[in-house]
């Protein structure tokens, strides 16, 4: 297990290096100019040149890259070109809302989609099944910001059950936090619910055809026990996998959701950073999300061993 973990960690190094090179080149080849973002649109070329020089943007690309990588290896992600704040500090300020949003969405997903998927698979072909499938295909088909606006329109503006926008940290009390995070969490979860309930259903359908399910029924066990004890645990791996690969999808959902609900999270930070060409910030955030993606998927791989005792990583 340890050696497997180490091996996976080692393979993550070339992956992350590739990400770093890719992002670095991509950004440096774009025509935008961070100096412009600092100086504003009424600055003259001479002023811009001064700023570029002082930021080290006139150095050769390779020099810039290795300086950056070398600093990062020491844990120094540098400073935002625009605000001159340490990148890590800026990320630290914004990561809380994003994590809260993601966890809320994940929680809602589990609460809603697992029972839905199990039910649909159990009553395969029936009315419930069709309803769940219809629901999930609609979840895939409606853009997240439309869902967001509809939720706001109905539950915040018309019914006034929830605030229209904003975010309060958990430190301000659970109720204000939950009250504000629920709608965006639900909007973000919509596509995830569609994905996970669909995968749960598919995986359960497959598992329900397995011999051991027949064995369980042959033993005279109740359907609840058959479904949740015998089938669901075996169906877990594809579900976990889709949760992991869906992480990237969740990030794009986060970007949009944060904009719709005005949540000061990482998603908005990164869009702003891209639009302002704030290279160190973009690089740090993308590396961070890519790293998180790699780690989440590694953890999910390791969690297979928890759900399935046959898996012993050599």
């Amino acid at each position: 297990m340890l050696s497997y973990f180490l091996r996976r960690l080692l393979t993550a190094i070339p992956v992350m290096f590739f990400v770093a090179v890719f992002i670095f080149l991509l950004l440096r080849l774009t025509p935008g100019d961070p100096a412009q973002a600092i100086a504003g649109d009424q600055a003259t070329p001479a002023q811009l040149e001064q700023i570029r020089e002082s930021l080290g943007l006139n150095e050769p690309l390779s020099t810039q890259f290795f300086t950056w990588v070398g600093r990062m290896a020491k844990g120094d992600f540098g400073q935002s070109l625009i605000s001159q704040q340490p990148v890590l500090q800026m990320i630290g300020q914004r990561i809380g809302p994003t994590i809260a949003l993601a966890l809320t969405a994940m929680g809602l997903t589990v609460l809603i989609s697992l029972p839905m998927g199990v039910l649909a698979a159990w009553r395969h072909g029936g009315l419930t099944d069709r309803a769940v499938m219809a629901f999930s295909v609609i979840g895939f088909s409606v853009p997240i910001f439309v869902i967001g606006y509809v939720l706001i329109g109905v539950f915040a503006v018309n019914l006034r059950w929830f605030p229209v926008q904003g975010y309060k940290p958990l430190a301000d009390g659970f109720w204000p936090f939950a009250h504000r995070i629920f709608l965006p969490g639900l909007a973000l979860a919509s596509i995830y619910i569609a994905l996970v309930s669909r995968m749960t259903r598919a995986s359960m359908l497959e598992v329900l055809r397995e011999d051991y399910v027949r064995t369980a029924r042959a033993k005279g066990l109740s359907e609840i026990v058959v479904l949740f004890r015998h089938a669901l645990r075996n169906a877990a791996i594809p579900i976990l996998t889709v949760v992991g690969t869906g992480f990237a999808m969740m990030i794009s959902g986060v970007v949009v959701t944060e904009t719709v609900f005005n949540i000061p999270g990482l998603g908005r930070l990164v869009v702003d950073a891209v639009l302002a060409r704030d290279y160190p910030l973009i690089q740090a955030i993308i590396l961070l999300t890519a790293g998180t993606y790699v780690v989440i998927n590694l953890l999910i791989d390791l969690s297979y061993a928890l759900t399935d005792p046959r898996i012993r990583y050599q």
């Binding site: 050696s3 005279g220 109740s222």
Partner: protein, 551 residues
């Protein structure tokens, strides 16, 4: 057997629920009495498994449905009982064991928990009582170290152990009826023998009625009191096992019995000339699994010695059988010869050339032509997306033959394997399993090979089809003067077609010699075990008599 039947099936009809319903069971009837074993025997598609599922009320919902008749368990009609009632009956009054011990146990739950569920679902027992009962049940099926088994996961047990666990679970509550659906088909013969004996013993101890489903006549001989021969959803013939086997009334039964190969080796064939086409010299194959990291961490290399110093020679016109149980390395030998695997050491000499050092398809072209293979599963060995003709001419086209010429030849060869020429334009799924295996043989013949390696080439086929394919193979061998390397787990088949037999165990050759000698007078203990374990070995199916008494 004067008491009332435990299970009484009356005019049972089952149909598919698709738009055009097809009858799977066309009104079958039988009874089973306490302490009796009734065998349902038949080839694939005869409906024998469906019968068992109806009895357990486990028909797949939305696919199959009972259309008529009744299934009486102690005079209670299962087909009309409520789901909760049949659930209560399942596990307590009737129990079932399945074919695949690998998949029949839930891989993510401990054996103990799965056993425990049986008691929890049907009996009002406290936890310690249940555990004691479970351990006792494991004991009764002769499982070693029940306490360890209780805490194990299924994958930590061998196939035989798992099937014992299944039996323990099935019989834990002393049901009146045990349904065993091909419970030994997936097991090696030696294990099969033990399981059959176990079922027999428990049946006698508990006076259980057993409905035993099998395709193997040998197993029928060993276990059944009475037998029902099924075909296409109907019962063709039923009666006491001795009667049916020795005096079959129906032609179908007679054909079925005639097709069972005899365990007695055929007469040795005279060898004309000694032209060596294939020789293995000290071949080893070691699969090793070690990652870079584990090497760094200084972990032991994990390796399997699949083929251990195997040497033999095969002459033109001869058939060499390699027999052994699963994991004996017999298939690895074949894959080394065909260079689907690279041998770790040793020489594979084809027509005088060692092919082990050769690399790449070009260098191997001649060896590829000379040695061809027929695979076990005819459903998978033909590309389902290619027409038969395309599959047949693939090899010749690779070696530069003109397309039209190759196609013409393919037609001729199809006729040799007794398929119509028009088959060239069809797709594999339009053929039965036996026909597909013929096509596979034709494909091998297209290359005009010197050696054909047949890896379990008839194991997936029904016994009647198996006989036809074996016959064809023999005919083709004679016609083309081929050398055949025949790999099988089935001693009966080996006895019928091999000149020489090589017995393998854990990668090593334990015995090698003429078939007559190896099979009739085995020297090695393992060979003897194999032969003793062959089901129905005391019965001569062709003649319909017991020969065990004679020996």
């Amino acid at each position: 057997m004067t008491s009332a039947p435990v299970l009484s099936v009356r005019d049972l009809k089952v149909v598919t629920t698709a738009r055009n319903p097809a009858e799977i069971l066309k009104g079958i009837s039988f009874d089973i009495f306490p302490g009796e074993t009734l065998c349902l025997v038949g080839e694939s598609g005869s409906g024998k498994s469906v019968t068992s599922l109806v009895s357990m009320d486990l028909l797949p919902r939305g696919e199959l449905a009972v259309a008529g008749g009744e299934v009486l368990l102690n005079d209670e009609d299962i087909t009309k009982a409520s789901p909760s009632r049949t659930r209560a009956l399942r596990g307590s009054e009737m129990a079932m064991i399945f074919q695949e011990p690998m998949t029949a146990l839930n891989p993510v739950l401990t054996i103990g928990l799965q056993m425990d569920e049986v008691f929890r679902a049907h009996r009002d027992m406290r936890k310690p009582e249940r555990k004691a009962a479970a351990l006792e049940a494991f004991e009764s099926v002769s499982l070693p170290d029940p306490a360890r088994i209780y805490d194990s996961f299924p994958h930590q047990l061998s196939g035989g152990q798992r099937q014992r666990v299944m039996i323990a679970m099935a019989l834990a509550l002393k049901p009146k009826l045990l349904i065993a659906d091909e419970p030994t088909t997936a097991l090696d013969v030696t294990t099969q023998k033990q399981i059959l004996e176990l079922i027999q013993r428990l049946k006698e101890e508990q006076n259980t009625a057993v409905l035993f489903i099998t395709h193997d006549m040998g197993v029928v001989v060993d276990i059944a009191d009475r037998v029902c021969v099924m075909r296409h959803g109907e019962i063709v013939e039923t009666g006491k096992v001795q009667d049916v086997l020795s005096q079959p009334k129906e032609q179908y039964t007679r054909d079925l019995l005639a097709a069972v190969p005899s365990l007695t080796p055929r007469k040795a064939r005279p060898q004309e000339g000694q032209e060596k086409v294939l020789e293995l010299i000290g071949v080893n194959k070691i699969f090793s699994f070690q990652s870079f990291i584990s090497k760094l961490l200084g972990h032991e290399e994990h390796s399997v010695h699949a083929v251990n110093d195997v040497s033999f020679r095969l002459d033109r016109g001869r058939t060499l059988g390699i027999v052994g149980e699963s994991g004996s390395g017999k298939s690895s030998v074949a894959r080394c010869i065909l260079r689907l695997e690279d041998p770790t050491s040793g020489a594979v000499v084809v027509n005088g050339n060692d092919i082990v050092p050769l690399r790449g398809q070009k260098a191997l072209a001649e060896a590829r032509r000379a040695v061809q293979m027929i695979f076990q599963d005819p459903n998978r060995s033909l590309n389902p997306r290619l027409r038969v003709g395309e599959s047949l001419i693939e090899g010749p086209l690779n070696s530069g033959e003109a397309r039209a010429e190759a196609m013409a030849r393919a037609g001729d060869i199809l006729e040799i394997v007794r398929l119509p020429r028009e088959s060239l334009d069809r797709y594999p799924h339009q053929f039965s399993g036996g026909q597909r295996q013929r096509i596979a043989i034709a494909r091998a013949l297209m290359m005009s090979p010197d050696v054909i390696v047949a890896d379990e080439a008839v194991s997936a086929l029904d016994v009647s089809v198996q006989a036809q394919v074996l016959e064809l193979l023999a005919e083709v061998q004679k016609r083309q003067n081929l050398a055949v390397l025949f790999i099988t787990h089935d001693l009966r088949v080996a006895a019928q077609i091999c000149d020489d037999v090589m017995v393998m165990q854990r990668g090593k050759v334990v015995e090698f010699g003429p078939a007559e000698q190896v099979l009739a007078h085995p020297q090695h203990a393992y060979t003897r075990d194999l032969i003793n374990a062959a089901p129905g070995r005391d019965w001569d199916f062709a003649k319909g008599r017991n020969i065990g008494a004679l020996v």
